[in-house]
Symmetry: D2
């Protein structure tokens, strides 16, 4: 069994990593750190893991993670960039679920995250961990920047069109809706049940940190800059992202066939039949992205706008599941190992 | 007291009309019909009205509504067009909350609603009941076609821009999200709690009946045809519509000022301060549309796309509240009479 | 117009008081204080009140409330007991929505609330504000201790039986379920959407502060001590309390008739027909308690246990609505003034 | 691989069986029947299973299930009793998730289910499939009556106390709350999202079909009849049952130790530490029952009433998971095979 460690495991991506790793056939969880909960058994914080996870949270000291083949950062932004170097030097692979290594342009990162970057020299080595875009580079990576949840759903929905040069790359629109767990486990007012339930709202419309990340990924695929309007919304569900994507057609193609071909070999991307409407629960708790392509309204012939629907579970394919997928690639394991749980419906 | 009747009062727009009319200072509810529930006290179906509504449902016969100054149709599509003529001839004003008289082009109506229209001769007389667009004509109308919920939120959000000719009218995009009550009180599988809760999905992307209605209203305002992509989504909330609207700027203006000026005198449209994100609960159970205008991302100067956020309660400003507003206009009552209830938060 | 002030208006009972008082025909809101939000317009915190409440929050200084006929404390426990004296001396009536004056036995209060009481000399003057139990004393009161939400639902459900001596007073059981807003607007982990949604749990089973309050009220009605097991649960709804009450029959009576007679003259208690199941939404946003009495299972004759179902909106009849009802009584206004809004269904 | 068949697989227990069996290491799903959906691929009804279940629904004819080692009935009540005989004669084990074989007293069954029983001669052979009560008999059974969801949570919570003779058996009280999926996938009005969401209610208080089932199981454990008041409630969650159980103490014991000892060897019953409050999400999508024992209020010494909290996922330990557990026992497989998925939190 290979050995895994988790830094900062008391949030939602942390407990989701715990759930996935506890059921992984080739990896054993060796340590999980938390400054706040050091000494507390993991199951005191997450009773759902009783009988299956025996670890206690440990102090976030280097020796806690010594000997790990892979270390996950499930920490707020700003932690991994300070600690990754030591772990890499000690021989571990590092997968950062936070945003520290996602943006290649340090200046842009510092503008959006309002901090000085602590390890700019590592950014170049970090591979952006979207396997459908960067699979081979992830296999060889020592440091993976695990994508954000919105960026995963949005990039997977746009990729075939962008690669094919089939839509106007200066005017992409992504209207995305997220369940509340996407904001993490922090206790902010607008995330309280009595505020978020039976409610719906857009947020951060003037500027969302996932905007530069999405643009960077699509620019890589397009080999040029892209223009994007990205609108995030909070929907009263625990999990799930639904990205509704709009692109103006510049080249006529069989778009259904384009998507099916692009993702034919992908184990975790499911192109739905034409006219489908994937719902977020169809991927609940599973490492899958389901996509449908539409050209509405079908009754007329004049529309030149494509609508792509892309759904993921923000905590799985949008975070911890994708992190395990990256781990599998980095450690030479079967890419699907430990990721075969079926979605929970209803 | 003026006398009101309701045809088909067992659905959500029916019970919402009952709630509003039972609290109206100038109107008395005289009769409410329902074939299925004839003879049953209203409070047996809606215990929330116990002690306040003494009526029983009556058979949907003409004499039940005799003497009414105004009759509301809270029926499925296809009923009002068969019964409106007799009521109009008897001297009643008619407000149809269904779609029967919304579309001026009978051929287009018949294509989308897949029925032969039973009273095409009345369509010309029917006034589309969006007071912010047609106030004066509503005052003089005998037959009002009450707008759909999505069309209300979408048109109010686009109107100032369309009237000002400030955006590309060939490529409007409306990404709209509705609470589940928008689908009515019918028992369909996908509207069950265990299907719709903790879930999010688009629906009817290939073609939604509100698409021609929105286009018609915006075309009236623009005095030309408009191109529109309209995507409807189901969000796990009971009430509320959130329309996120995208338009490509063709004329630079102070858009915040444009909206504020356009709606300055409107009693039921609230233009929020710049940078706001109206949430649907801020209008829950109230006859208000709140709107915010954005030009994201603010950090850059290159965006040429406006984002408008528009929220209503689908059962109030999107249906029964707007119907009461129309009734007030038609009967010469103060426009806000009976519509002053504050939103329910939390 | 009489003048009202609110101390601490940024929580849920505060905004609910604002909603009710803004629509009250005889009372004008003069001031609302908040240390944290002093200077902020009320509508910046609660956009739902835009256009209807013009006040800003003011510093919690005595002069802010000078001239008020009535002052509401919508503060956390421990504030009112320090500030009530000065307001009473200045001639205001005081209604405390917190727990400071609910328990007559100071020692017991201090045990449950783990604080030294700051104004024990006021406790004797304070009237427990359950109008159905203490109406006449409330009329003459200068200081009213507004009941807790669980105690309101539970006492109203048990009162007729306790007064009639019809059940075993040593073994009352109250199994109560509350929507999440009952816990207030504080940002605690277990009240987050992602924790409380799609979940159900009991809490504080070893001891809940509403236990002594319920026992005290029922003891007053019984003129002896009562034994009670009280279990609180959190249900994933914003508003609503459902108390399921169990009592062993000691005297055979027509229990339906007993309840109907007891509450015949009560404007805000609705005894449902036999075999009813009141749901919490039937009182949503309204100042009503609905009650049903059962003796299950009906198929057999052996049961000696009564089951009473009692529902309220925790923020209205369980807090701010009841406070306005008490205000009406104290100020000699019609008891139902400003409390006639109908429940919101769906 | 052993072969399994499912009769009537379009409901929630059906899709949950599909999810569990598709991941089972020793069993292969051979056929799933549905009159209504015959010919339709399973994944057209349940897209969550795309790529993992290749079957189509087949006509419910005997030959469809020929060769199955085990057949599950995931049908409405009244189907299994007509079809079980033929399958048993063909050599299959049968596990009925409906209520047809749960009640030993045919007369009582017919009173509660209002039908003539079609196979009374099989009732005696049927083993009630609660492994914690009847494990050895299940191993040898050919026909298992899988318990209802409320009965599973309630019996597991009461069993140690009843077996120990520690509480008053004439006055048990079970106050149980269920998520909406417990009512099945049928489209009834009160199960619609807009009716059940943000709401809470008791139902069937005059008489619930699970009442005789619970009494029968507890009577078996007690070796005498028991008296029970059982109240069912609908809570706005998809999955989960929370039973709050009350028993009057007749014998003083260390109740925490009693429960821990009783369930020490049980793989799917978790006795929580003293003072715990298990929530339903801690068992979401997993085959576990978590139990806590309380004696409130702890501050006093007078209480003679125990409170037991017992939670399960109604579709797993309350239905399909327990059915797979029974299948494992009947087929001589490890009892936990295919049932090791961890709960989904958040």
């Amino acid at each position: 069994m290979l050995k895994a460690g988790i830094v900062g495991g008391t949030g939602y991506t942390g407990v989701e990593l715990l759930r996935l790793l506890a059921q992984h056939p080739h990896v054993e969880l060796k340590a999980i750190t938390s400054r706040k909960e050091a000494g507390t058994p993991v199951t005191a914080v997450f009773p759902s893991l009783r009988g299956r996870v025996e670890l206690a949270f440990s102090e976030p000291r280097p020796e806690a993670l010594r000997g790990c083949d892979v270390v996950f950062f499930a920490t707020p932004n700003g932690v991994a960039m300070g600690e990754a170097r030591a772990l890499l030097d000690a021989g571990a692979r590092v997968i950062d679920l936070s945003a520290d290594f996602r943006i290649k342009d340090v200046g842009e990162w510092e503008r959006w995250y309002r901090t000085k970057h602590a390890a700019p020299e590592l950014i170049g080595d970090a591979v952006y961990g979207l396997p459908e875009l960067n699979r081979e580079r992830i296999r060889g990576a020592r440091l993976v920047a695990n994508p954000g949840c919105y960026p995963t759903a949005t990039q997977l929905g746009f990729l075939p069109l962008v690669e094919a040069g089939a839509i106007d790359l200066d005017h992409l629109i992504a209207d995305a809706k997220s369940g509340v767990s996407g904001a993490g486990r922090k206790t902010e007012q607008h995330l309280m049940f009595s505020e978020a339930s039976d409610n719906f709202m857009a947020y951060n419309v003037p500027g969302h940190r996932h905007w530069p990340e999405i643009r960077q990924g699509l620019a890589q695929a397009a080999r040029r800059e892209v223009g994007l309007v990205f609108t995030a919304h909070l929907t009263p569900a625990i999990r799930g992202i639904h990205a509704t994507l709009y692109g103006r057609i510049t080249k006529e193609l069989d778009f259904q066939a384009l998507f099916e071909k692009r993702y034919a070999a992908e184990p975790f991307v499911d192109v739905m039949p034409a006219a489908s409407h994937p719902d977020t629960r169809s991927v609940r708790a599973a490492n899958v992205c389901r996509i449908a392509v539409h050209r509405p309204p079908e009754a007329t012939n004049r529309s030149d706008t494509l609508v792509v629907l892309s759904v993921i579970d923000n905590l799985v394919k949008g975070a911890s599941g994708q992190a395990v997928q990256n781990m599998n690639l980095m450690l030479g394991l079967p890419e699907t190992a430990g990721l075969s749980q079926l979605p929970i419906v209803p």
